[in-house]
């Protein structure tokens, strides 16, 4: 038995009276993967995503969720929709209840859960997206980023196995978009498979494990981000510009400034490549678990080491820092920033909690292995 959460088998679809939107789509999403569907406007991304939870019925082909074929009767749709959570591009059409509580509770209530469990799920979901205390707000009193968080919380409260998000960062400012992506990372860390569509190549390149390149209703390529985006012919065919980092890397390779090899995944790798032989002094990255800390212990730790750069990851830890009045230097792309500081011989401290601790360690280990730099992570 394979462990695919979602399988598309030769899906064809056309809207009534229109040319075909999807022309034979087949792909598989493994459990616990982060997959990005990338394509230009009108490539069929939204149509494809709406098939995942049975909103649109394919003309041909079949869709399997957890290796079971989706059936389009009432019971079948209910079971699919409780497994596949869908976050729409426009939060205003997703949030339809008059208050945040009522909206997040909508899904669990329609799953006919007992009242206590509904309350608990709403509390947990709002906590996960960092909006606890917003229960009574009406949606028109929320900012765009907060609306997106409420929309995600509404889906989380149903405990889906797969989260499908249509353009989650569209029409958000870069800082808010980065926060939403961090949030998706946290959810992924907790075991949710994530499938999102985007035309933001930078985002797809940095974030995804796997990229599905879609153009005119056909999958042009499916594979690792570096492999998809480095193929200029493919990019031209899909009417997509390659990520800036990759473009720069290829240009530098063409001029023999860099040797060709594994394309850099992020700014630290790129910096490392340009820098050449390893730096003499390498800083350390300290990792602190905010779950076991009080505001005082955290402040005294920082007072002991005034030279440390500080950054926080995860909604909970970020809130902890704000509440205990700790000034943070890095709030987005924290690991990358700390790696850069380490290569510059400076020490830094990352405040985070839960599963994100291991995530930081694995990211740093991967970086150390790939770029042969001896960066160490130490838990405090």
């Amino acid at each position: 038995m394979n462990d695919n959460v979602l399988t598309f088998e030769n899906i064809r679809f056309s809207y009534p009276g229109c040319p075909a939107s999807l022309k034979g789509i087949s792909f598989m999403v493994g459990r616990g993967r982060k997959v990005a569907v990338v394509g230009h406007n009108g490539a069929g991304k939204t149509t494809l995503l709406q098939m995942c939870n049975g909103t649109l019925v394919p003309d041909e082909g079949k869709i399997l969720v957890n290796n079971e074929e989706v059936t389009y009767d009432r019971a079948g749709l209910r079971s699919v929709r409780s497994k596949v959570g869908m976050v729409f591009q426009n939060s205003d059409s997703q949030i339809f209840a008059p208050s945040v509580f009522a909206d997040v509770a909508f899904g669990p209530a329609n799953l006919h859960l007992p009242d206590d469990e509904i309350r608990e799920r709403v509390r947990d979901a709002l906590f996960a997206v960092g909006l606890n205390g917003y229960e009574k707000r009406p949606p028109h009193h929320l900012s765009g980023g907060e609306k997106k968080r409420v929309a995600i919380a509404g889906i989380l409260a149903m405990h889906p196995e797969i989260l499908v998000a249509d353009e989650p960062t569209a029409s958000l400012d870069p800082a808010t978009a980065a926060e939403i992506m961090d949030l998706l990372d946290e959810l992924h860390e907790k075991g949710t498979t994530i499938l999102l569509s985007t035309h933001d190549v930078e985002l797809a390149y940095r974030w995804a494990d796997e990229v599905i390149l879609l153009s005119e209703g056909v999958i042009l390529h499916e594979g690792a981000p570096a492999e998809v985006f480095a193929d200029n012919e493919l990019m031209k065919q899909a009417r997509i510009t390659p990520p800036v980092l990759l473009d720069l890397y290829q240009e530098l390779v063409r001029r023999h400034i860099l040797e060709s090899g594994i394309p850099p995944k992020g700014i630290p790798e790129m910096t490392r490549l340009i820098e050449g032989p390893g730096p003499a002094v390498i800083g350390k990255i300290y990792l602190a678990d905010t779950d076991g800390m009080t505001a005082e212990s955290c402040r005294s730790l920082l007072a002991e080491h005034p030279a440390w750069h500080t950054g926080a990851m995860e909604t909970k830890s970020r809130k902890f820092c704000i509440q205990s009045g700790i000034m943070l230097e890095y709030t987005h792309g924290v690991v990358d920033k700390c790696l850069l500081s380490a290569m510059n011989g400076e020490d830094s401290l990352i405040l985070t909690s839960g599963g994100m601790l291991e995530r930081v360690e694995s990211r740093v280990d991967m970086f150390a292995k790939e770029s042969r730099t001896d960066v160490k992570v130490r838990r405090v």
Binding site: Q50, N53, T55, L77, R78, R81, S82, G85, M86, F88, N90, D92, S93, Q94, I95, F96, A97, P98, S99, F101, A102, A105, F106, G107, A109, N110, L111, H112, I118, E135, K136, R137, P138, P139, H140, H141, G154, I155, M158
Partner: protein, 310 residues
């Protein structure tokens, strides 16, 4: 409802007219202040962006009385409205109006500017209605005879005057009570009340959706309107008519599309006929309950006193 007979004495009449005039003048001053407030920045005159689409909702949500039980506020306002409509003389409605204004301004801490601006709307209606009554209805002694065409006498009589004053007073009291409710109770806390008084669930669900989407559509209408103004819509009367019809048809289409989106969104979350009500539990303190009871007792006894005066 039958309107009771005139005043017991000319003094009462004069006092009532003076009181009404004072309140109207007060409201007028408020409006004047709104219209002529100083522009600190020396930029080109810009239209006052005082009313936006959320102003009432904002005021209710930030009100210090928000957490007070919606039942208590409803009881307070509904009893005031019913009793002021029952009152045969304008004194009681004016008393209620003064209490409500004080409650809104000092307890609910509404900004006087907002309150004055809100009151202009009903005052305009009440005054036009009362003017018609003043000239058209008859009975009693003639005070001012304006003209007569055939059988139609346009004149002010004692009865028409008292009727006009009574109508203004009742409207005023009713509006002040309603504004107190609107300015302290967000819609979200009324849904639970609607459910408790056995309004069918379907209506409550609809009300919740309507409440949510009113703001979405107002925002949409404003953005369409802005887009039209930017490109010279509404420059002439004819152009304006054309642009306005386009706005309405666009809004209709958007409403339709939004409706379809909601259905998809509800289905994606396994909609099975269940809408959750906002989770709001009001606070009932002994002080607030006793205040409401005392108020109702006072206005009831004033009502009885007025009835006895006639």
């Amino acid at each position: 409802m039958q309107i009771m007979d005139g005043f017991p004495s000319p003094w009462g009449q004069i006092a009532a007219v003076l009181l009404a005039a004072c309140i109207l003048a007060g409201a007028g001053i408020c409006i004047y202040k709104v219209k002529t407030r100083k522009n600190n920045k020396r930029h080109a005159a810009k239209p006052p962006a005082f009313f936006d689409e959320h102003i009432l909702d904002d005021a209710a949500i930030h009100s210090p009385l928000r957490k007070v039980s919606a039942w208590l506020k409803l009881l307070f306002c509904l009893s005031a409205i019913v009793i002021s409509v029952m009152s045969p003389l304008p004194y009681l409605p004016l008393f209620i109006a003064v209490v409500m204004i004080c409650a809104s301004l000092f307890i609910a801490k509404t900004s006087p500017r907002l309150y004055g601006a809100l009151l202009t709307i009903p005052i305009v209606f009440a005054v036009t209605g009362a003017l018609v009554l003043l000239f058209v209805s008859g009975g009693g002694d003639t005070l001012v005879d304006i003209f007569t065409i055939g059988t139609i006498h346009v004149q002010i009589t004692t009865k028409s005057l008292s009727l006009a004053v009574l109508v203004i007073a009742r409207t005023f009291a009713g509006m002040c009570s309603l504004y107190f409710l609107a300015l302290t109770t967000p819609m979200t806390s009324l849904f639970a009340v609607l459910q408790k008084i056995r309004i069918p669930q379907a209506f409550i669900d609809l009300t919740m959706l309507i409440y949510r989407y009113i703001f979405v559509f107002i925002a949409e209408a404003i953005s369409i309107h802005n887009a039209q103004i930017m490109r010279g819509g509404y420059s002439t009367w004819k152009e304006g008519l054309n642009a306005f019809s386009m706005l309405l048809s666009m809004l209709f289409i958007r409403t339709w599309e939004r409706g379809e989106d909601i259905v998809v969104s509800m289905d994606s979350r396994c909609y099975d006929g269940c809408m959750v009500l906002p989770d709001e539990h009001g606070r009932v303190t002994p002080l607030s309950v006793s205040c409401v009871i005392v108020f109702i007792f006072v206005i009831l006894s004033l009502l009885v006193w007025e009835m006895a005066l006639l």
